[in-house]
């Protein structure tokens, strides 16, 4: 079976720094495969290992996205398609989903599209569902277990203590949550081999048809959230201070 897995190159939040004005320094910031996408790739590779076939890694982004693609390839991707969009041409979620859907149509016979629950940097969580809509395919969101017999896909969703089981005919689109699996560590040999695999570049302009949606969503500002603290100091002996602290915590409803 042919599986497409959607991958995003996200800002490495562990390395992100803010400038004096409280804005994250995004220019030149380190990037990596979105952490949640590792679960998407793992699920796709597991399904391939069980059912045979291919896993096609699909991403949209600038040249820096090659790093994320290679990470996904090292985990077991068979081939990769990179929709190249420089920062100036980077579309919003709807435009991204449109372009990814067009790329999937070009790939041809695709049985299953796997996405993660959202990107680890922006966490919009929209693209998987939008791709399904553009492709006019069934969509199952937030799957924590995915199985397929090649005809249909069967997923489990965890809903506040209950489990809901859903099925859809193939082809379909499924988004998986991080509880779905534990992503594998690729071996160094797999990383090296992945680095040598060819990646098909597709310019974004070649995918935009007359029906390209222009929602006009723009990011106006990104700034670091300031956490306000009450800075209350309880004085007295340790016993007194502890009593006062416990009282204050009760008052706040923490205890």
């Amino acid at each position: 079976m042919n599986i497409v897995v959607l991958v995003k190159s996200a800002v490495d939040e562990a390395e992100l720094k803010a400038d004096q004005s409280g804005h994250p320094v995004l220019k030149g910031a380190a990037t990596k495969m979105s952490a949640f996408d590792m679960n998407g790739v793992e699920e796709a590779v597991k399904l391939k290992e069980k059912n045979g076939g291919t896993v096609i890694v699909l991403t949209l982004g600038g040249p820096e996205a090659k790093k994320a693609i290679k990470e996904a390839m090292a985990m077991g991707g068979t081939k990769a398609v990179h929709v190249l969009a420089e920062a100036a041409d980077a579309p919003d979620s709807l435009g991204t989903a449109y372009c990814l859907a067009q790329a999937i149509k070009r790939i041809g016979a695709v049985d299953l599209v796997v996405s993660s629950e959202g990107a680890s940097d922006t966490y919009q969580g929209e693209v998987g569902a939008m791709v399904a809509e553009f492709l006019d395919l069934p969509f199952i969101a937030y799957a924590k277990k995915v199985e397929t017999d090649g005809v249909k896909v069967r997923c489990e969703q965890g809903l506040r203590g209950t489990v809901r089981v859903l099925e859809a005919r193939l082809p379909a689109v499924v988004s998986v949550v991080s509880e779905a699996n534990v992503p594998r560590y690729p071996t160094l040999l797999q990383v090296m081999v992945a680095g040598k695999k060819a990646i098909e570049d597709v310019p974004i302009a070649s995918l935009k048809g007359p029906d390209y949606p222009d929602t006009g969503t723009v990011v106006v500002d990104v700034s670091v959230q300031s956490a306000s603290r009450k800075r209350v100091i309880f004085d007295g002996t340790p016993e007194e201070a502890a009593r006062k602290l416990a009282g204050a915590l009760k008052q706040e409803g923490v205890l």
């Binding site: 290679k70 990470e71 071996t187 160094l188 040999l189 680095g195």
Partner: protein, 391 residues
Amino acid sequence: MKIFGAEQERTLGSLYGAEAAEVYSALLRSLSVVLEEEVAPLSLALDEGKEGISRPRRVLFDQGLCKLPHPAEFGGMDIPFGVYALAMELAGAADASTAMSLGIHNTVADAVSRFGSPEQKKRFLPALLSGKKLAAFALTEPTSGSDARAMHTTAAREGRHYVIEGSKMFITNAGEADLYLVFAATGDGHGAFLVEGTNPGLKVGKPLKEKLGMRASHTAEVRLAKCKVPEDSLLGKEGAGFEQAKQLLDSSRIVMGMICVGIARVAYAEALAYAKGRDLFGKKLSDMQLTREKVANAAMETNASRLLCMHAARLKESGKPYSSEAAQGKVLATESAARTCDAAIQLLGGYGYTSADVHRHWRDARLLTIGEGASEVLRLLIASQELEKEP
């Protein structure tokens, strides 16, 4: 602490060029994720004896760390030695004992790869590179260390066998190893022998538990009594053993130096984080001039150590002599790591002295100014090569 960061990426770029550095960066970045998530969190427990070394060692064997510099023909990856040395810096930063155990193991793999017969390579290399077999390097004796030529262990030929008699001391991986590379005096020189751990003539003494550092790695005496091995256990030619040991140690010194670069980086990062947060006299500890001197020294010495070790590694890769540079790199890296770790204890004050998570770095680094050639002997080696040069 980010084990693989911009500093290592820049080093790769300057040494190997942008295109190759991209490939090697991807390898080391991937390795660093495993080191950060699966090895570094165990490091304190390993030092305290609450965790066994086989677990992190298995993780790194499975990753393929030991395959990096070896021929693809036998399951290796044909990656330049310098990249492997940088990988060992990262491993040293995650856990020094695990890195050293693997470094020594890989010296034996290096021995088989360089001096082994086609049959020996076929028989041992795939198992050594995958970690199916663990190896130990048995050169030092109770009364000979850096003066290895004075060894008392002998190997006498008996028909189609050799019989080894003697004792080896401070042997890393002893008791756990499946294969021992034993150096012994033969009739007209020395020989290196591959001895299976199951050989009834090979006995391992009690583990040396009172070690100052590198506490998770196993160290013990190895006794060889009527240890009979087939003649094809000899690595290369009879009489070549001492020269083989010298060549293997040249390589290994680069690796041990890089492990110390990793140790120094961790201690330095911990001290720096503390100094930035500790308030005293209305300032931060990091604002004090004497703190800044320590910070500057640590940064300079760590970078200089890495670059000198990598210079030796690049000379090795290009087939040029590198024995002196390897010794220089090892002396600088190990001694400066001990200084940096000592400065880290000083900056952390009482916390540095009482917390194993700080002082274990100093204890770990301290071994490597002794093992694999003591600093004093390496200085003699460096000086003798300098004095041979034309003015």
